[in-house]
Amino acid sequence: MKRISRAIAVVATAVAVTAGLAVIPVTSASAAAPAVNCSGDARIEKSFDNGTDWQMCWRVDSKHGLVLEQVAVKAPGEDSFRRVLDSVSLGQLNVPYDTGKNVWNDITSYGFGNQYLQKLSAAECSTGTLRDYGQAWSVTRRGVTTNYLRTIPSLCITDTTRDLSYRSHEQTWGSIEDKPLFTATGQAFNLTIVSKVDWYEYATKVEFTDEGAISFNLGATGDISYEDFDADATTGWPVGTDAANYAASHWHNAFWRLDFGLDGQSVQQVEQYDSTLGEQGEMAPLMHTTGATIAHPANLVPAADTTWWRVVAPESRNADNHARSYEFVFPGSQLYQGNPITQPLISVTNYADCEQFASNNLNPACPNLSVLDYVANSADTSLTDPVAWVNSGFHHVVRDEDQSPMQTHWQSFSIMPRDWTAQSMSTPDARTCINGDTGGEIHSDETPCEAVVPTDPEPTDPPATTEPPAPTDPADPGTEEPVDGGADAPTLKLSTTELAPGESFGLEGAGFAEHESVEIVLHSDPITVGELTADGSGAISGTLKVPAAAPEGSHTVVVTGAQSGLTAKVAVTVAPAAGPAGTGAGLLASTGTALPIAAATVALLLLAVGGLLMVRRRRRSAISPI
């Protein structure tokens, strides 16, 4: 599990906690919180450590297989759930063979539920929990119908984690000094059923992350049908000794039916974005990304590999006044060109009760229709209640390794929130102040988080281009970089940066106003160390004593000119008088008011401060010195 400790002064703790609770502002008015009208084991609820919650209902339809309904997410700090999907399930699994001899439609001709739904063993849900679902069938003989039911463990709910959910190291670029590190192991859970249709066994898996994303995965395993060793060198692949038999290549064209219900809004739109190269810029051509609303039901084909789409609820705004949306993410989907139905990547239609399957529709009110028919029959209507038929295709060219059993191969895509929240759902407390152009530096080791404009005593026009910061010299940690890089900024140098309470140290500085009084303060909890007076050239020099009350840990010595307001600073560590402390618990000492952390160039020598100072905050977000 992740460490997550951050040492802060006890006094500061309450402030930090308060700030944490206030992280995500209450958002604008939206539809009422959606109900979840299922109960008991039919309901799935999940709370992640970062404060993100999911809820939904699940069931296994005789044809669609796994159906998730009323899928809603609650972002950290929000009061209630917001609907993402009214429902999602498979809408077809079309399997044409490259030999031209077979085409299967596994959802509409067989189905993923009832007798095709597999009982899962505890071993194949080894880290998850199983839930039961029923298989029902009826037998009619001589006018009498008898109905049967049995329940089998068939849904596996598994928790997963992913390292490097995010990472931000507040190290000065080019420096090798360790600084506070923000990183986290993300959490997710997935729901999986397995359906066996003849030789193939299909895993339907939907995963939900603590950052609001949902991935849709179809895994195919089982065995190669022996009937399908009827291919040649171009329609198959030699499997088995030499080239005696070619196993037929084939497609798994999985259609997912996503019925969007973003935030319960009555108006949702689909937008397509394309990026084009424009005029030559200073260093590279400009690239312009522009969006267009898909006004009517349509079959969507990517114009380029930079094309992307989202479903947006224009009236649902996040705290930044941006419309909430979910964006499609395709890691690579193969589109079978042998059938018009599988040529689009996405077909978008308005919700219609009878439109349940991407082809061979089984509802008598829309008999045998396909997505192409749905689009054609409603092409004049406005698209406001979108159902996305996503074609997640995979061309399976069989390998030797596909036997036996066949290694599970996955075909996937996902949807991820775009502007659902004003910041990432996994934003750690100390980064909650970062929203938009901060105009300055990130002060995450301050409590609470602050974004601070760098001190700039003599405002000048900002440079036209951003220069990378000059590498600091680790051999000379006592020399401070100018705060704003300006030539006139004061400088400061200490005789040592490893201080001890009661010990004396030398201090030299320059660049202050003539004869002004300069105050020396130890931060973060400000402790005045002393005062010096600048000479006629603005230089200061003297010997000062570290206050006995200075707590152990990392601090900053800040000198401030009383008249000019000019400041300079040097990061120091305060160790016990007996000498440098051991590695201890690796805690950061409190630092006080906002100071540009980027200016601190001294390694954070970590001192044992003790468990009392450890504040366990979000369990999974970590700030830890490295």
């Binding site: 109900a35 009208n37 299922c38 039919a42 069931r59 339809d61 005789s62 044809k63 669609h64 159906v67 309904e69 009214d86 031209g100 299967w104 509409t108 001709s109 067989y110 189905g111 539920g113 007798q115 095709y116 597999q118 009982k119 899962l120 063993s121 071993a123 194949e124 849900c125 039961d132 679902y133 029923g134 298989q135 029902a136 069938w137 009826s138 037998v139 009619t140 003989r141 001589r142 006018g143 009498v144 119908t145 008898t146 109905n147 049967y148 039911l149 049995r150 329940t151 089998i152 463990p153 049908s225 009937e227 019925d259 009760d353 349940q356 061979n360 089984l362 509802n363 008598p364 045998n368």
Partner: protein
């Protein structure tokens, strides 16, 4: 609205008469559901197969999107089958006087609907029509839509019947019988000797010989020899409406 149960559909026959079909269907289902041993498998148990009581009055109802209880399932089938939308001359796959029950699911409609809505698919072999009966268990009402030429997946019951038709057709089944005999050394005489799956067969432009399946209810089947491979079943489908085996190409 709910109509009184029809005598012909609720009549209980002697148990012995029912037995054959039930056992055969159960064998099919059992074959489908056989779970191979998994290393370390333990703890996950299925329930025993339950024969549902006939339920003709409203049972306790679950939440709108909950799985159907046994009583709800049985009641939904009762309402769907006895609704006035079902033709008087309805027949099931064996030609007897009852609709063929294909599937029962929570309704695939508005997920926020507050009723206890169930989709029951029925097939009428007389009119060759598929019925989608959206049943409101709370109110006892049925909203019915029907269409010929729509073919949901066949049930084990129908696959069982299709197999019988196939095996009884000495000419059509000759090749499969011969293959079975060559593989096993035994005569193929019963569905119990094979694991049988069946899918809805919908003809496409590339299939020759199965035009009738545009409207008739046709099944294509896969036969797996116990512990071994599959028999070649690619050359035929069974037309359950016409009670015949059709050669296809």
């Amino acid at each position: 609205m709910q109509s009184p149960p029809r005598k012909t559909r609720t009549r209980r026959l002697p148990y012995a008469i029912l037995g054959g079909g039930v056992v055969a269907a159960a064998a099919i289902v059992g074959g489908f559901l056989a779970i191979p041993a998994v290393s370390g498998a333990s703890g996950a148990e299925s329930s025993a197969t339950e024969e549902l009581d006939e339920v003709t009055s409203k049972p306790d109802l679950g939440a709108p999107r909950d799985p159907l209880s046994p009583d709800e399932l049985s009641y939904a089938i009762h309402l769907a089958s006895t609704d006035e939308s079902v033709p008087d001359d309805v027949t099931s796959v064996d030609g007897s006087d009852a609709p063929q029950v294909l599937s029962v699911d929570i309704a695939n409609g508005d997920v926020d609907a507050t009723g206890r809505l169930v989709d029951v698919f029925l097939f009428d072999y007389t009119s060759n029509q598929t019925f989608l009966q959206r049943v409101d268990l709370a109110g006892g009402s049925v909203e019915s839509t029907a269409k010929a030429g729509v073919q949901p997946p066949p049930t084990p019951d129908e696959v069982d019947y299709a197999f019988s038709l196939f095996l009884d057709d000495a000419v059509a089944s000759a090749a499969v019988r011969a293959e079975y005999a060559a593989v096993t050394g035994d005569e193929l005489e019963s569905i119990d000797q094979l694991a049988v799956t069946g899918g809805a067969f919908v003809p496409d432009a590339g299939t020759l010989g199965a035009d009738a399946c545009g409207l008739d209810r046709c099944v294509e089947m896969q036969f797996r020899v116990s512990g071994g491979g599959y028999l070649d079943t690619t050359g035929f489908v069974v037309d359950l409406s016409a009670k015949s085996v059709i050669g296809i190409k």
